[in-house]
């Protein structure tokens, strides 16, 4: 690799971005617009979700559980019902958005094992509301479970064999008030950075083909690696700038508590930026028109990121096969990291697994992208 040639490519690319209104708009206006649109779009807190209750037991404990739903202020009890069909009808008519069913032996099982099941059902028509309401319900149940378990432990002198919904406790603990905004905004940042990074770089090689400058470029001694790195340098700088903007907006404008370290955020954001830019570059090498490349990049980044990264739809609530698919959605690791750094103050060591996943992803993408570009016309 020759540093002079690397510099020449980076310099030229910087001038081109600077003089291209479309690239500039993507680089500078899009983060602002998306932050406002997505940030406000998803952070409307949902309160007083109408709930139907089908209490099969009518015990003191079951009534206490129902009371906890009401006390949370996120739910109101729309109806008390007495059979399953009535629950379905009520949901179909829209009388309630969700239903809680408490089984007939609830308090007996709880008393003997310290652990009992409660069923919640939500109308999935409005996916966004459902996701949030489901989260609230699980939070309520998790808190109740913890209390019941503590009482059971006091009565029996030991801890119960297992505590239900343990995996939900972090949400209750670290996202006080179960504020969906705190949960979702870090995800919004990831979505925006992924989108912009891939969009910007998807144009870079396609532009050379489209404008007819590639033929002369590949007749020079420049290497494929110099072309790739040189071209990515200015976009990487833009990506980091946009990241700083979005993260600052998340912390200061949307007031998401930031408990982690800046270094952790910068490190992981840099990694994530390399991944998305590598993907955009790869697309750009393969597709020789700017429009085509930007559309493919959009599909490859926007769709999986918004649907499968867990940024609005919690991954642990997805069907198992889809959960498996999310393992290859690089954005999920960054969403996990950002959320943890913001809300839990996690460190690099805490996040070793998702960071390693991103490192592997970045290495693989760069390796493939560096080989994808051939200095040939055919």
């Amino acid at each position: 690799m020759n540093l002079g040639r690397l510099f020449a490519i980076a310099f030229k690319e910087t001038l081109q971005v600077w003089r291209d209104p479309r690239s500039l708009a993507i680089a500078l206006l899009m983060p602002l617009m998306q932050m406002v649109l997505l940030g406000y779009g998803v952070s409307l807190d949902i309160r007083r979700v109408p709930l139907c209750v089908y209490d099969q037991e009518h015990s003191q404990t079951s009534r206490e559980l129902v009371q906890r739903f009401v006390a949370s202020d996120w739910f109101v009890i729309a109806r008390n019902l007495n059979d399953e069909r009535a629950v379905r009808d009520a949901m179909n008519r829209g009388t309630c958005i969700g239903a809680v069913t408490i089984p007939v032996n609830f308090s007996r099982v709880l008393a003997s094992t310290g652990n009992a099941e409660v069923q919640t059902v939500f109308d999935a028509t409005d996916a966004n509301t459902t996701t949030i309401a489901t989260g609230y319900a699980q939070g309520v149940i998790a808190l109740a479970t913890a209390d019941f378990a503590a009482r059971w432990a006091a009565a029996h002198g030991t801890r119960p064999p297992s505590v239900g919904s343990v995996d939900l406790q972090p949400r209750v603990l670290f996202n006080e008030g179960l504020d969906s905004r705190n949960f979702i905004i870090p995800g919004v940042v990831a979505v925006i950075l992924g989108l912009i990074g891939a969009q910007l770089t998807s144009l870079t090689v396609a532009r050379e083909w489209e404008r007819g400058t590639m033929e002369q470029l590949i007749s020079t001694p420049v290497t494929a690696l110099e072309v790739m790195i040189g071209k990515l340098i200015p976009y990487f700088a833009i990506g980091l700038f946009d990241a700083a903007f979005c993260l600052a907006a998340a912390a200061f404008w949307f007031q998401v508590p930031f408990r982690g370290s800046l270094v952790t955020v910068l490190l992981t954001t840099g990694l994530f930026t390399v991944v998305v830019m590598g993907i955009g570059y790869l697309v750009s090498v393969r597709i020789r028109s700017q429009l085509g490349a930007s559309q493919v990049a959009l599909m490859l980044t926007m769709l999986p990121t918004s649907l499968l990264s867990g940024y609005t739809f919690p991954i642990d609530q997805m069907p198992a096969p889809i959960q498996a698919v999310t393992l290859i959605v690089y954005a999920r690791y960054y969403v996990t990291i950002l959320r943890a750094v913001f809300l839990k103050g996690s460190t690099v060591a805490d996040l070793a697994v998702p960071i390693l996943a991103l490192v592997l992803y970045a290495a693989a993408i760069i390796w493939i992208a560096a080989r994808a570009f051939r200095k040939r016309l055919d």
């Binding site: 020759n2 002079g4 040639r5 510099f7 020449a8 310099f11 030229k12 001038l15 081109q16 003089r19 291209d20 404008r211 007819g212 400058t213 033929e215 002369q216 470029l217 590949i218 007749s219 020079t220 001694p221 420049v222 290497t223 200095k375 040939r376 016309l377 055919d378």
Partner: protein, 314 residues
């Protein structure tokens, strides 16, 4: 291929390139000597660009070999690239960069030291008459100036071989003179130039020409010898209505070829002395009495038409 004197700069043997069903280049051989200005001439689609691209190492031949200053271009195109400059037929510089920025870019890619770059760009821009336009975006230059900028960028390092694909198409006569001035200056430095052209006056200026037709080289020689090789002799028929004369002469006995040249028709015949009176009579018979028929020396265009036209010996 043997090259005992080591004076062949560009050597191609059995070059073949197909695009699906189209055979763009069908087994051509070339040997261009160092310091030559070698011209590729041929009608549209003859395969000029395809040959240039293969020589520049940006397109792989389906068969054949290329050696450029001793470097095997097919096996190792990257080793040949520092030695050459290629100017594609379509403008290949960055329209959103200025003249100076484009020059800087290509100079840096070829690792030209800053001082050399400044001196050379000054010298080349002056020769091209472009000194006042340094800060202008390349996209805002006229067609001719774009081509000259392409040449400046191609020459900002010192290539051993210069490949120019129709470099002066769309360039005005004055700019073309600048252009050729620069090219002649390069010969002193032993730079080998291979260019394709659609202009016959330009073809005459080449030291040797390859006449290309349908992907094959039909003739290859100096312009003078190509003219001698033209079968038959040439008569210029000058009249007021050259188009009518063209129609009247067509198909007459002994006529091998016709070329309408504005106010006259160049008629290639097997025997000038015998056919001149016959043609005069034929034209008079069709009501064209003012025709002035004189024997002339063929230009390269006549040779071109004669040699590449139908029925010409391959």
């Amino acid at each position: 291929m043997t090259d005992p004197a080591g004076e062949v700069a560009v050597l191609a043997r059995g070059l073949v390139r197909r695009f699906g069903p189209v055979s763009a280049v069908r087994g051509i051989d070339l040997a261009v000597r160092r310091g030559e200005i070698f011209g590729l001439v041929g009608p549209d689609g003859a395969g000029k660009t395809t040959i240039m691209r293969m020589l520049a190492g940006v397109l792989r031949p389906d068969a054949g070999e290329i050696h450029l200053e001793g470097v095997d271009v097919v096996a190792d195109p990257e080793r040949a690239k520092p030695l050459l400059s290629y100017m594609p037929q379509r403008f290949g510089l960055y329209e959103d960069l200025t003249v100076a920025e484009n020059i800087f870019f290509y100079a840096t890619l070829f690792a030209v030291p800053a001082r050399v770059r400044r001196d050379r760009s000054q010298e080349l821009l002056a020769a091209a008459g472009m000194l006042p336009f340094r800060r202008r975006l390349a996209g805002q230059l006229s067609g001719g100036m774009k081509q000259k900028l392409g040449l400046v960028c191609a020459l900002i390092h010192t290539p051993r071989v210069l490949l120019l694909d129709e470099p002066t198409t769309g360039v005005d006569p004055v700019s073309r003179r600048d252009f050729w001035g620069i090219l002649y200056g390069l010969r002193e430095h032993g730079v080998t130039i291979l260019l394709s052209t659609a202009y016959m006056d330009e073809a005459e200026r080449c030291s040797r020409l390859a006449l290309l037709h349908a992907g094959a080289i039909r003739h290859c020689d100096t312009p003078a010898r190509l003219k001698q090789a033209m079968p038959g002799a040439l008569l210029a028929v000058v009249t007021r209505d050259a188009r009518r004369a063209h129609a009247a002469v067509e198909g007459a006995a002994g006529v091998l070829g016709l070329l309408l040249m504005g106010d006259r028709v160049n008629v290639r015949v097997d025997d000038a002395e015998r056919r001149a009176p016959e043609l005069r009579a034929r034209l008079a018979g069709q009501g064209i009495a003012d025709a002035d028929i004189t024997p002339i020396e063929p230009g390269i265009e006549d040779v071109f038409v004669a040699l590449l036209g139908s029925g010409s010996p391959a």
